[in-house]
Symmetry: C2
């Protein structure tokens, strides 16, 4: 765990150094806050977490730093939760799609090789060069379905 954290810190430092940017206390704080949260986090949640580590962090800085983390490949934008954007870890966290329960909000992350292959076929069919995709399946999870049956 600690090793991974150091990896990500090193990645961010390299990303910053490569373009003449600086590794600052605020950026460290936001990185630690983000890494300490689980998948699918709003910027607001990162702000709260960051302020638990350092109450003085400004919200503008968190917005800016989360964008940096995305550019550096440490975070990636997940499904918009209708309104605010959600982010998830991107380092050591392979590509996957989401299966979301519309009742309780539970999220299952999955990867389906058949779907991935079929998507490649669609790209070929229309002559597009692939640059990523977003697949969200919505449904009712077993627990919520069981409650319905009662």
């Amino acid at each position: 765990m600690e090793y991974a954290l150091r990896d990500e810190r090193a990645l961010l430092e390299k990303y910053l150094r490569d373009r003449g940017l600086k590794m600052t206390r605020a950026r460290e704080t936001v990185l630690d806050a983000f890494l300490g949260l689980e998948s699918h986090v709003s910027v607001e949640a990162v702000i709260e977490a960051a302020r638990r580590l350092d109450p003085g962090v400004g919200q503008a800085t968190v917005f800016r730093t989360v964008k940096l983390l995305v550019d550096a490949g440490l975070a990636r934008e997940a499904c918009h939760d209708d309104g605010s954007r959600l982010f998830e870890h991107a380092y050591n966290h392979a590509h996957h799609d989401h299966l979301t329960c519309t009742r309780c909000g539970a999220v299952v992350e999955f990867i389906d090789p058949d779907i991935e292959r079929s998507q490649e076929a669609v790209y070929r069919r229309y002559g597009f060069r692939s640059s990523g995709h977003r697949l969200e399946l919505y449904g009712v999870c077993p627990d919520c379905a069981a409650k319905d049956a009662e």
Copy 2:
């Protein structure tokens, strides 16, 4: 065309009547404006179109009516265009997914039976009951790729 228009008007009237709501001039205007536009429309575009038909229409009314159209099954929310939401026709307009060019914004609507089948398999695998999905493929279209090659 005119028949379809009358169909959709009748659907909206039924939807409204069934819950004690009223068919008004403003709602007619917004419906006509929406139907007169092509796929993937922002609310702002609907406002403009509605005001061409009747300059007095308020923007709050358009927002409210578009939401009504979604509830009535005449419109459906498409991919968020990062910022504002986009809507498309839902009546007589079968389910499909989107393949979007990240350079020029061109959108190809497609349906792939293999992907649909594989998605059903994912639902079964996790015991979810399906209630819809959203698949957006991003890439570079042939035209933009050709420009790159120059």
